[in-house]
Symmetry: D2
Subunit: 105 residues, 4 copies
């Protein structure tokens, strides 16, 4: 069966860690602190309100790092990302009802 994108990416990240003997560093708390570091780097790009937007290549780079550690964390924590996200959106749709469509729509 085909892997979904989070699973396929996690497989690639796991192979990356295995072939560098880094799996032993990838416990949940360590990956969580790494995720915090990457969110911090993203925050640094947006911290001051200026007329110019942050450099797009750097934004792309930091959001990739955030996703990478979030996916690696999820695997080590035993969370099925695609299922978890779908279930959470389902629940939010129940919890926060959509606005009624206006007449004529």
């Amino acid at each position: 069966m085909a892997l979904n994108w989070p699973e396929a990416t996690q497989r690639r990240l796991r192979a990356f860690a295995e072939t560098r003997d880094w799996v032993r560093y990838h416990d949940p708390r360590s990956l969580l602190l790494a995720l915090v570091g990457e969110v911090g780097e993203l925050a640094e790009l947006y911290q001051w309100q200026t007329d110019e937007p942050p450099d797009q290549a750097r934004v792309q780079d930091e959001i990739a790092d955030v996703l990478i550690y979030a996916l690696r964390f999820a695997e080590v924590a035993g969370v099925d990302v695609a299922a978890a996200v779908a279930e959470k959106i389902d629940r939010n749709e129940q919890r926060f009802p959509a606005l009624p469509l206006e007449e004529g729509q």
Copy 2:
């Protein structure tokens, strides 16, 4: 053309926001602060080292929230998540060479 998982999830998140008139709140800095809040909730589950692991349903819930805000942020910031993650892993593979295979492998 088929959407990849980040795109399909972002489409669902955008529709969710649109049907609740929440798109106006979804600027990059607001979504980034929301992401920080969710990373904080995940950190609270792991902050003390105890004999028991954190509740798996809560871990799943918080990692889903982290992914949801990271994906929504990426869309608003104009980042193609699947491409960004693939490029970053490519770059890391170049930057950190794999260990040599041991003899006999």
Copy 3:
């Protein structure tokens, strides 16, 4: 010799932990994750831009928690807070020169 405020507060926090047998949980990584949790709670108060400011009692409560974990972390990490902050401001004053006073000032 009189303790400065960070030292006096750290002494109170240490006594608080000791009399509850919590010192064993206060390693740097655990306190850092707790700090991340509190910064996340502060971020949740500011994440959406609305017409009303966040509730002042909650802001005060969360900033207190941020300070408490930062001070407790600093003690466990062996950092003299008052000296560290003074040295950092000194350095920033050298690094970023002040604007010239305008004529007539």
Copy 4:
């Protein structure tokens, strides 16, 4: 009346910002994102569990930055830091009773 340490430090930070014309950048959300960036830098020092502790000068530097932005944020948000911290510890002392002293102590 003498200023307490948080007030005296905040006065110095405010003068630093004023003499560089940076006060206009110091709204609560911007300072909060800056705080997130500094917490992220601290997390990067502790993210992997290794045999060696992180470099003490860097730890001192990052904890100073965390304190600086927390204090500056508190001032802009109108929070009296010394009072907020004292009240929060008072409340925690009520909320979490101390262990009974063992016999003979």
